[in-house]
Symmetry: C2
Subunit: 352 residues, 2 copies
């Protein structure tokens, strides 16, 4: 025997490539094409004065960041949880809330970390097929289960489920925690945040990585009933007392306080997305009416893999999965206008 | 029924107080009294130029930080793992390696997060009593078990176990992972790091929070056989693809590259500790011959709780536990010379 017999053997999630070369048009991990708010640079500069404080542990209550989120969303502090990206928040939530013998439900085509977390913690789960148009049928989630996870808008499809349909899912699952992962909600979706006042089993998860241009800082957050948040915090404090370092607290608080910049840049992304939709349509692509900062599109002329490789050869990276039902689709993040013009030019060449 | 039936209910670890007032002598969480290396400030300033890059995800392979650690310790990159403080590294290691039905062994008096992690993951464990002089008896760990965790030097006792005795524990446990938590090793202990070449089941965990004055940045790391590190990384990548944010990677790499400053400041801490030992002895305290940046001391005159409260009333915070065998002890972190002089002056007043 060896120690290996008792190792937890897992198949990790594979994140999109983070290439170290710089002359690329990077449309593969749904990052924001615009830099963080100028207030973030100011907060970074202000840290120089406070550099000595790095010798001390950061505030474990994350007060500064939570206060800033509370203010931005007009939500009480005790309804807010923060973590190292929404991945950290979701990983903690799976560990905290999904402890029955029943299956946790989520779509077959969705964020591909959900089944990885379930496997990691040995949580039973069932992947519910999306309908043929890649939309979610709420009544599919009315069966006996151990929890529900819905990404809304969904990734990689970009499909948004209407608020009343999400509420149907929550309402029909009072005995389990329902997680609504709203990583992309700021680009045109509608948040279920107000529903935390009515449903004590609802956890709404969001992130600084997309609409706030802060993927590099790894900040995610969740809203829920204070009791639900307390359960989640207890698990977090049983894992790591200080997950958020001093720079995350300072730069994160600065980022979320700049509503004007946030609105300006997300509207720029939305505008570029709508232009891109028109161009992709012209080139014969089909896609859902994305409410996110990406478009999940399929060509009527060439297989997804061929287009993917041809784009890569032209220094443009998008994302695709070798997975049933979606292997001909490309998930294209929305970059700057110039980047999307380059993309369209390349696609024109590839498809002609 | 409600969702609460399936919540993982835990009793979290309680970290030492991080008071928000500033006119305190803070000797309660074993932080370094000196600021981080000047190279850390330089790295922070350099980030201003790169602020736009915060819109992108950080490098998931943590190459820059791991390369810097590899260089500082002359260890191959594939033998290194990094995390959000050594707590994150240890939490992942418990999850990855302790999956048998047998009990994981650690001392009854040690870092009080070990039993919290075991409870969180429902890992069976047995706390082995330290000897009456608070030292570890290696042969106590030669029984059938599911894993072993040893803090060396141990906390909160400050006792270091000799290298050959640690090796005895590792050698006698070839079928389980042995974790040696060396958070405090840089203040006079001897690391088992070279033993990773001989024992494939040995994981050595260290941190930037103590000897590198970087508690605020949350950086921990581990050394082990490449296969062991791969298992640990797989679990980490099944939890969160990007645990280390961009500032941790940059500032961490800068900190670990400054050997001169590291040696200078740790020697200052050691010198102050030895002076403090002499003073505490003079005042009638008993304590182990600490090889850490704290002293675990007991007065022959007053109960620990009384001294603790009296120090607090004088704006000096140390740490104590309401726990059998150690409730009369104070764990006193080593501050600057001036801070320790203030402490001794206060103790003289309290004890007279």
């Amino acid at each position: 025997m060896s120690y290996e017999a008792n190792v937890r053997k897992v198949v990790p999630y594979v994140p999109g490539e983070q290439p170290k070369v710089t002359n690329l048009i990077k449309l593969n991990t749904n990052e924001n094409p615009y830099p963080p708010s100028p207030l973030v640079l100011k907060a970074l500069k202000d840290m120089e004065e406070k550099i000595e404080r790095l010798k001390l542990y950061p505030d474990p209550t994350c007060e500064k960041l939570i206060d800033a989120i509370a203010k931005a969303y007009k939500v009480d502090k005790e309804k807010i949880f923060v973590g190292v990206g929404s991945d950290d928040v979701l990983a903690m939530a799976f560990l905290a809330f999904f402890n029955s013998d029943k299956q946790v439900l989520f779509p077959d085509i969705t964020y591909s970390f959900y089944d990885v977390w379930a496997d990691l913690y040995r949580i039973p789960y069932k992947q519910i097929p999306l309908k043929s148009d890649f939309t979610i049928e709420p009544s599919d989630y009315f069966i006996d289960n151990g929890g529900v996870v819905i990404a809304n808008p969904n990734a990689p499809t970009g499909e948004a489920l209407a608020l009343d349909k999400v509420e149907e899912i929550i309402k029909n699952n009072p005995d389990v925690v329902v997680i609504v992962d709203e990583a992309y909600v700021d680009f045109g979706g509608v948040s279920v945040l107000p529903l935390i006042e009515r449903y004590e089993n609802l956890l709404v998860v969001q992130t600084f990585s997309k609409s706030r241009s802060m993927a590099g800082m790894r900040i995610g957050y969740a809203f829920g009933n204070p009791k639900l948040i307390k359960y989640l915090s207890d698990v977090k404090f049983s894992f790591n007392s200080y997950t958020m370092n001093a720079t995350s607290l300072e730069l994160g608080a600065a980022a979320v306080s700049d509503k004007e910049y946030f609105d300006k840049t997300r509207n720029m992304v939305i505008k570029t997305r709508e232009w891109t939709k028109g161009e992709l349509k012209r080139l014969g692509f089909t896609f859902a009416d994305s409410k996110t900062n990406f478009i999940f599109a399929k060509s009527d002329k060439l297989p997804g893999k061929v287009i993917f490789d041809e784009l890569r050869a032209r220094n443009i990276i998008v994302r695709r999965w070798d997975k049933e039902r979606i292997n001909d689709y490309l998930r294209i993040s929305i970059g700057t206008d110039e980047e999307m013009q380059e993309l369209i030019k390349a696609l024109e060449e590839i498809l002609k």
